[in-house]
């Protein structure tokens, strides 16, 4: 069974939103830990401390939901089309970083992100 085009776009955007939420939870938790990492041992320490934060696990749940929806989309939709819509995740993550994490995004970064998104569209559609 093939799905309608707007249905597919909606589902793919839903996976992107779930992934964005997951990344936001991870990044904000890492920001709150504020550990300076210069050795592999320190990196492991960071991961262990992250594992004690419930929000990080909630992020994993969102990633899991995203993966399930994505696998469902892949069985019902044209792969290249699904992947091209998926590149919207870069825009979503940038907007979320800007509004929620208060990251400063200048013109050059926006141009770079738009170039990456257009590049991905060409790679997956070409």
């Amino acid at each position: 069974m093939k799905l309608g085009i707007f249905y597919i776009i909606g589902l793919v955007l839903l996976t992107d939103i779930c992934d964005t939420i997951s990344q936001l939870f991870l990044k904000s938790s890492i920001n709150s830990i504020d550990l300076h990492i210069n050795t592999f041992k320190k990196a492991l320490e960071l991961v262990i401390r992250l594992a004690k934060i419930p929000v990080v696990w909630l992020g994993f749940v969102f990633s899991g939901i995203s993966l399930c929806i994505w696998l469902f989309v892949l069985t019902r939709a044209d792969l290249n089309f699904a992947y091209s819509v998926d590149s919207m995740r870069y825009i979503l993550i940038t907007l979320a970083s800007m509004t929620i994490l208060k990251e400063k995004i200048g013109t050059i970064r926006w141009f770079g992100i738009i170039a990456v998104v257009s590049g991905i569209m060409l790679v997956v559609l070409g």
Binding site: T75, E103, A115, G119
Partner: protein, 140 residues
Amino acid sequence: MNSPRKKHLTLKILLILVSIDLLETLAQFCFKKSALSFSNFQINSFLDVLNFIKTIIPSGYLWLGLIFVVLIFITWSTVLSRIDLSVAVPVCSFSYITIPLVSMIFFHESISWVRWMGIFLIIIGVILVSMSSVRRKECP
């Protein structure tokens, strides 16, 4: 007093981000290898997906791929402790370049000129995003 934290992209972090992309490519390579060895499996429903995962559990490539995923998480967390999410995510799009290249070399898939153009645009984009996060020389 805490010293101000470095939040800009350095060459070291850029190299770590590239290594994440390489690990990601290795992971995808392993998953593709393990899936290919069971390519006669028909997937029509969600239950089939679960059955498929059950079938490939003994595959060594699957576990190797999962080890790479764990390594990616450790490295990714480290990178995020140093730079903005809005820099880390686009710079990590190198895997859109490495995965077609690996597919071309190991799975004999072809790359069209449109794809090459896309690869070129991604590289330009990654350079621009990286530039936006590099510390500029402070003016006196």
